[in-house]
Subunit: 526 residues, 2 copies
Amino acid sequence: MADWKNLDTLASFKKLEETKRVDLAAVMSAEAGAERVKKYSVPMAEGLQYNYAAKAVDDDTLKALRELALEAQLSEKFEELYNGAVINTGEKRLVLHQLCRGQLGKDVVADGVNKRAFYEEQQKRIADFANKVHSGEIVNENGEKFTSVVQIGIGGSDLGPRAMYIALENWAKATGNLKMSAKFISNVDPDDAAAVLASTDVAHAVFILVSKSGTTLETLTNEAFVKDALVKAGYNPAKHMIAVTSETSPLAKNEGYLDAFFMDDYIGGRYSSSSAVGGAVLSLAFGPEVFAQFLDGAHAEDELAKEKDPLKNPDMLDALIGVYERNVLGMEATAVLPYSQALSRFPAHLQQVDMESNGKSVNRFGEPVDYVTGPVIFGEPGTNGQHSFYQLLHQGTNIIPLQFIGFRENQTGTDVVIEGSTSQKKLCANVAAQIVAFACGKKDENRNKNFAGGRPSSIITGRQLTPASLGALLAHFENKVMFQGFLWNVNSFDQEGVQLGKVLAKRVLAHDTEGALKAYSDLLEI
Amino acid sequence: MADWKNLDTLASFKKLEETKRVDLAAVMSAEAGAERVKKYSVPMAEGLQYNYAAKAVDDDTLKALRELALEAQLSEKFEELYNGAVINTGEKRLVLHQLCRGQLGKDVVADGVNKRAFYEEQQKRIADFANKVHSGEIVNENGEKFTSVVQIGIGGSDLGPRAMYIALENWAKATGNLKMSAKFISNVDPDDAAAVLASTDVAHAVFILVSKSGTTLETLTNEAFVKDALVKAGYNPAKHMIAVTSETSPLAKNEGYLDAFFMDDYIGGRYSSSSAVGGAVLSLAFGPEVFAQFLDGAHAEDELAKEKDPLKNPDMLDALIGVYERNVLGMEATAVLPYSQALSRFPAHLQQVDMESNGKSVNRFGEPVDYVTGPVIFGEPGTNGQHSFYQLLHQGTNIIPLQFIGFRENQTGTDVVIEGSTSQKKLCANVAAQIVAFACGKKDENRNKNFAGGRPSSIITGRQLTPASLGALLAHFENKVMFQGFLWNVNSFDQEGVQLGKVLAKRVLAHDTEGALKAYSDLLEI
């Protein structure tokens, strides 16, 4: 059994604090920098690479990080997790999202069921359903084929699947894999559902209701919205809706749905893109084979995450460097900057994965920790961000570590040559230039135009964003966040901070309020 | 002439540092909290209100903030700005975006021209053009009406206009004001332009090329992309494109465009939504009258910003409280959380407005400052964010100040009643509940479920998001950022950090690189 200890009780963490700081601008200059770019790189799955040359680390720091990884028993903890230990201590649950995409260790049996077999069965059922929709075996009341799919869900039932869909939509169009277009309804703001429905041909749409408990207020409200629209248009909601839920929820085995597909309590919402939550919408949109490629990519990255040596384990190394920046160098936020329009909503998804997992102040045993935990995560695609908030990243008073992502080829295959280079080359030239500018800065006698440099970044590179490389990319960040949770000794798999507001909102709606809550309710005329 | 001094040299700032800290959880509880909600509220323009009851301030703090406002001469500096002083010292330029929406002080004459008259003339020219497009006087080569508009621009030419368009799209549909649908192309990633073009009926589209200098690489590249698509479809680009640029740019008086509309060097990109940059696309999409209402709302808020007493000036007060949180309480980021799906891209726009303006380490005279300046800005609409990163906001180890926005009525008028309340009521109930939960917390013996509270927020409330209230909202934040720049004594109107990457990217494309830059270029196969 692994030993769960607070970060600041580890001898190796004290040693890490005492390592000499690296002068990033100096080590990244000229030929020394070129050497680092070649040396400080770890292969990821599906041809991706994690390059950390522009991080403020050197061989001494890396040695200390390796010792920290060993003393914190990161590999042992991961092993316990994928072998079915109760890692989510707060909710007393197993943590099995990796099992949705492959077997990493022993068979995990819970509630009398082999969980890998259960997840595979759901994937198979979804694949059958999707194939029947695509072939025209499952059709609407008029015998017409369904042409689009609309996911109704919020939080983890929305952000991840939506980000994955957007990431692959253009790829799918270019490769002939777009079977159905997908849309998403999430916000309880009625204008969200109204706008999506106004632009949807409801007669030919399959709606996926996603709620593990079957009781999420926003989602049930939006379901009512959709049913209303279907009925008004003369269609039977039961012939247009499927559910993704737990087997024990009121949505399971319910005649109001064409079919229901299952996840369980061991899949956290923010980790559910590779479960039925992502599986239904992605299999309908792109076909089950494409979803299977996505799962294979994620599984291949999970396999890499089992490696004990952090210098060969990109997910663990990324986690360790992040903790070094946060807890030793004192940096408070991380910007995620994909140079790929397809990843436009990937930062919003990682914002949930990271901040909801590690935004905690107590450890796994409910004791307050004396160090900072999860950072703020934000980001927009490059080059857009370059023309916006990069100003603060370059010259602000706080240093924000950066996570770049870049691909050598675009997805659509469409491009133009202007001034001797394609748009894709320009995109890549920009990200390369930014990394060096952040690290090395630029001297100028006009101090307003002077850049001190010393601003650390890493980059994940690859040939192209495909279903498989997207899966690897997603798993990388999920695993990074998991390893960081281990280092901080927090439970990364519950979310009490998300529960509180729900209770209070119900009190407001029941007019069971006093004091400030009543005053705000009056202000908003609730 | 105002006296430009560093924040930490002001006696009133020292006094502010010495004011007693407010126990937010205590003062916001029960009836005392209700009193605060009523008392700590300032009217904004267009029926909006800025409520700061849940900020960690009391009458003593507010007194100190008022003294700071006076000593920092915030009103005098704003007066100098709108009367045409060279406030942008780095680039030696006037700062006149407020003049696009109304006259706040004396006539401003620059380059021999009355600038208010110049901006009005451009608005009028845009209005005439838009009316002719809507009436069918200006048509495509086949004599058919244009039905959609596509803006090509990046940074300030994209984020603001796009956020404003999204904010009003549903309102316009519901009120019969949607004349043409709008789309936006920004990223140099070729997949961005390819995807937008694939979903655009180019035969009936007007394209707006927006670049002040007429030389922005991303924008010219995307223009080539669009021209290519038009030519391939058998259309003449010159009959489909207009330019928004400066009078001296190569795009002005150019036969390649149907027409050109002008801004100038005194309008920063991130402040250009109320200039021709926002004017062309918004007037084409919604009609010139709607754009005029938006400008009127912004101007009304600007007028309020002239008030010398910060307790009656919502923009100045918001700025002062933000500086108190940043420089006295030591908070590093701010989350912008609109409970309105229409404002889904408003946080991304504010991210640029704020971080590009005040992400600076030197003062107006190029001297390094010894205090922190602009914070990280991020956000997503509620209730979506509640199911995501709110975990960290509630229970993370760092306290993040929050800026809520909420409206009593939705835009589309469509709604459903579930469990006795409409979706809009649920939306409002959620934001009210969150404010109180963040401020007061919730005690629980299980420390994992315990919420300490003491997490400050403010809320801007209003009846509905309309063109006028959107204008007021935008001007509020622009003015807040301006006042914060005055307090930090930085130049909020240049962006050297955005320039650097452009130069280096060109070097990469010219293969004029060495060391680390070459190594990264190899990695990306540039």
